[in-house]
């Protein structure tokens, strides 16, 4: 065993851990408080399986946007256009299927490719021409809002009747055959597999750290954390299993999350993104192609915006001219609540997801309570600014 782990008392260790990670813990604490509050206020309605499934479906498109936005914000840029890019791409998806009778999978591929083109256009403007991202994407807001309105001008709202497409944001994964019981068996199996994976990867990381004599937390804390995380995963899974199982949206978001988490932590590209955000000049002098990486981030953002548009259209089972309004606000707020540094260079997509849950729990909970929509904006804004103010203060204290 490592010396470091045994030298200090458990109480002291918890103290230093709290102090060092106060920012991350605050996020979880806030989420739990918000969830408990709404559960109390809605007489348990908030935590019911039906609502949790609903919450996940609502949060899906924001989560996808926020994951892409995390990269953009780490790079010290911003993308304001994502809302209307999503709205426009969603409308295109609906039109392709209803008007041109295109196959659903082909439609999805075309719409994602459309997102890629939009990203290339904005990324090129930012890097090669040198227009600041704020301006480029503000212009994008105008442009794609206009495109959205134009594309739906003749038809108005376009209804989507394709069952597969609509299942993306309304359906759940099918259960295994032969098990017609109370519980959704496949959901349970996935939950158990996820827990095993988490436990194994944690143990592996810990062993590795000990091998290289790095600091690790002591055994009791390590076990507590693992048990805690597993309990959370399993309780969500149980809630879902009692209802209709895991929503397809959750599967899509999980896939995006896993890919982006892997990319940021394990590949050169991810390293370069953090390097450019931390010190772009140093990154360039270290041989990083800053422009290429930045264009990539804008492309990935717009492709994810297109995906978000697909999810949103699927959720409403129709494309409307107002789709996309304010999406960028929720996405950006989620990132900052999830701990992306305002000064760039720091941020995790996994924490961004927590930020999304905070924002979307607020939306969902206040809707259940029947809070006026205007007041909802005020509440979300206040929570957002508190989170960022807290972030700025704790980071300064850490210096």
């Amino acid at each position: 065993m490592n010396e470091n782990t045994e030298k200090q008392g458990l109480g002291k260790e918890i103290g230093t851990l709290l102090k060092k990670n106060v920012r991350d813990y605050m996020m979880y604490i806030a989420l739990v408080i918000i969830m408990l509050f709404f559960t109390w206020k809605t007489n348990g309605g908030f935590i019911q399986a039906r609502n949790i499934t609903n919450l996940i479906n609502q949060a899906g498109y924001v989560a996808v946007l926020a994951i892409g936005m995390t990269l953009i914000l780490i790079l010290k840029h911003i993308d304001l256009s994502v809302g209307y890019v999503a709205g426009f791409c969603g409308a295109v998806a609906a039109l392709l299927m209803s008007k041109f009778n295109l196959n659903v999978w082909l439609t999805i591929v075309i719409v994602l490719a459309l997102g890629l083109i939009i990203g290339l256009y904005q990324g090129t403007l930012v890097t090669k021409v040198g227009v600041p991202a704020f301006v480029t994407t503000l212009a994008g807001m105008f442009i794609f809002r206009g495109f959205l309105a134009l594309s739906l001008q003749e038809t108005g709202t376009v209804i989507v009747s394709d069952k597969v497409f609509n299942a993306l944001s309304n359906g759940t994964i099918p259960d295994l055959p032969f098990f017609g019981g109370e519980l959704h068996v496949l959901t349970l199996l996935i939950g158990v597999a996820a827990v095993i994976l988490v436990v194994l990867s944690q143990i592996k990381t810990r062993r590795n750290k000990i091998k290289y004599n790095f600091k690790v937390v002591s055994m009791p804390i390590f076990i507590t954390v693992i048990v805690f995380v597993s309990a959370i995963i399993m309780s969500i899974i149980m809630v879902l299993a009692k209802y209709q199982g895991i929503p397809w949206t959750a599967v899509i978001v999980a896939m995006v999350l896993i890919i982006y988490n892997f990319m940021l932590n394990k590949t050169c590209l991810g390293r370069y993104i953090y390097g450019i955000g931390g010190n772009d000049q140093a990154a360039e002098l270290s041989g990083v192609d800053v422009k290429k990486v930045t264009v990539f981030a804008f492309c990935s953002m717009s492709v994810l915006a297109a995906l978000a548009g697909i999810l949103y259209t699927s959720r409403l089972q129709s494309a409307t001219p107002t789709a996309g309004l304010g999406f960028e606000m929720d996405a950006i707020a989620s990132c900052y609540i999830g701990g992306v540094a305002v000064s760039g260079g720091i941020g995790k997509v996994t924490n961004t997801i927590i930020g999304v849950l905070v924002i979307m729990s607020l939306t969902n909970g206040m809707n259940l309570m029947g809070v006026d929509i205007s007041l909802q904006y005020v509440v979300k804004g206040i929570i957002f600014i508190i989170a960022v103010a807290f972030d700025v203060r704790t980071r300064r204290a850490a210096k």
Partner: protein, 509 residues
């Protein structure tokens, strides 16, 4: 005793780990032109910052006596109020504003609550005439050349009713005509009763206009020469500027470098669109395998610009002529990545500004320059990365609890070692070190010198840019001296001494 407008007595200014000013005494007579000279890092600028309140009262020891009163300046505004104005090398004008707006920026002429623009323009004209600048005061500052901008700065100082004018290397970025013009103006202001302190590297100018010359060296006053009584010579000033023994802090190399030239630059001319002038003129130099070549010159001689323009030109200069050859083959780099891949590395002088990512840890900063070599499939082999980082941590003695330590928390010397490790990992053929020992203590310096020796003995070639003359002399096999973007000469280690180098460095074309 003369009538002193300013006496600075026993000034001591400490920075973490460095005593920048060590009991400096500095006296300026009323109405004279007083020149302050010394090598880079001798403490000239620090002394002037103490005087003007940039370093407020109580952050230094000693007394500032101005007009026979002890002063306690807390801000620049305090010293300005007493009639002390300082004009820096980097001009402090707002380029997008007009000349008259700039002159009265911060002390606007008011009528009631609003600015009286008509009076402002009339007054501006008066001050512009005083500095003999015949332009329309509504011209935007950015449309003026550097020389005229400097005159606007002086007009601004005069409008604040300046008694003591401090000029920090005013002619460093001026051409010959503008310089002469400026020196004439200073002499005229003297007649009008303005006392002037001028920091300069250009000895010719100093001898032409100075009444008194004070030499600083290593944060201490060496001497004050009275130029009114008898002519002071350049040699006399240089002797006082350098006069120091090189002690034995430079480890000796056992292996001689080979005769094969591995890197050369020919007729390298570079134009800076930002400054609107050519900053490097037909630079030629070469480096042999296993050699340390020193690149010496005073601040603003163009050494860093030379390095940057070679290293993939990230600043976007325009390279107007010249070629680079690596191992006999002509190469060209359009971005730093190209240079690194061909085997040229540049260790920045500004390790915090553009050398290291301070919010990341040691292993991150070491691996980033050659990350692709650690990739297996798509994934970075993190174990291998840790091994590499640990190897360097041990072999060059980076003092930190682990390679997971954030670089921002390390001392200057250890940060510098991380920078070196990063470039050693990229395995370059030619390593350009820009001020490798700036701001680090003597012990760490010795370690870095030893490391340099190890690298060249292993066959690497090093170009060392340094403002510290003893260091360049102690470490180089050969050295080039630059002044104003031109190579003034080449000296072998045997023939070089401080006197010779300094003579070349202060020479102007």
């Amino acid at each position: 005793m003369g009538d002193y407008i300013l006496e600075m007595k026993n000034i001591v200014k400490q920075f973490p780990g460095v005593r920048a000013l060590d009991n400096v005494n500095f006296q300026v007579e009323r109405g004279e032109i007083h020149c302050l000279v010394g090598e880079n890092g001798a403490g000239k600028s620090t002394l002037m910052k103490v005087l003007s309140g940039v370093y407020p009262f109580a952050t230094y020891e000693g007394d500032i006596v101005y007009n026979n009163e002890i002063q306690r300046f807390k801000t620049i505004a305090d010293s300005e109020e007493k009639g002390i104005a300082i004009i820096y090398q980097e001009l402090a004008l707002v380029p997008e504003l007009s000349v008259y707006e700039n002159i009265f920026f911060g002390h606007e002429i008011k009528k009631g609550k609003t600015i009286d623009w008509n009076e402002t323009i009339v007054q501006s004209k008066k001050y512009l005439e005083k500095v003999r600048l015949h332009i329309d005061p509504s011209t935007k500052v950015k449309e003026l050349g550097v020389g005229n901008q400097q005159l606007v700065e002086i007009a601004k100082a005069l409008s604040k009713n300046v008694k003591l004018l401090i000029l920090d290397e005013p002619t460093a970025s001026l051409n010959e005509d503008d310089s002469q013009n400026l020196l004439q103006l200073i002499l005229e202001l003297k007649k009008q009763g303005v006392t002037c302190i001028m920091i300069s590297h250009k000895l010719k100018e100093i001898i032409a206009i100075a009444d008194t010359i004070t030499v600083l060296r290593d944060g201490a006053t060496i001497c004050s020469l009275d130029a009114r009584e008898k002519q002071v010579t350049e040699a006399e000033i240089i002797k006082n500027m350098v006069g120091r023994e090189i002690d034995n802090i430079y480890p000796k190399r056992t292996k001689k470098c080979s005769d094969d030239i591995c890197f050369s630059i020919k007729d390298w001319s570079v134009f800076d669109p930002g400054k609107g002038r050519e900053i490097l003129h037909k630079v030629c130099m070469n480096v042999k395998k296993g050699e340390i070549v020193g690149l010496q010159g005073l601040m603003g001689a163009g050494r860093t610009e030379l390095a940057m323009s070679i290293f993939g030109n990230p600043n976007g200069y325009k390279i107007t002529s010249g070629s680079i050859a690596l191992n006999g083959k002509e190469v060209s780099f359009s971005k730093p990545k190209d240079a690194i891949q061909s085997g040229v590395a540049y260790v920045s002088e500004d390790r915090k500004g553009n050398g290291l990512v301070l919010i990341q840890d040691i292993k991150y900063n070491i691996s980033i320059s050659n990350l692709e070599s650690l990739v297996k499939g798509l994934v970075i082999n993190e174990n291998e990365e840790i091994n590499v980082a640990n190897e360097y941590k041990d072999s060059i003695n980076i003092k930190a609890p682990s390679v997971e330590q954030k670089v921002g928390n390390l001392s200057g010397g250890n940060q510098q070692k991380v920078q070196l490790a990063k470039w050693m990992f990229a395995k370059p053929t030619v390593l350009i070190l820009d001020e490798p020992t700036r701001g680090i203590d003597v012990g760490a310096k010795f370690e870095i010198y030893t490391l340099m020796n190890r690298l060249v003995e292993a066959g690497m070639s090093i170009i060392m840019i340094s403002s510290e003359l003893p260091e360049v002399l102690g470490m180089s096999d050969r050295l080039y001296v630059m002044s104003e973007g031109t190579i003034m000469g080449e000296l072998s280690a045997n023939e070089a001494n401080e006197q010779k180098v300094m003579e070349m460095a202060v020479r102007t074309v």
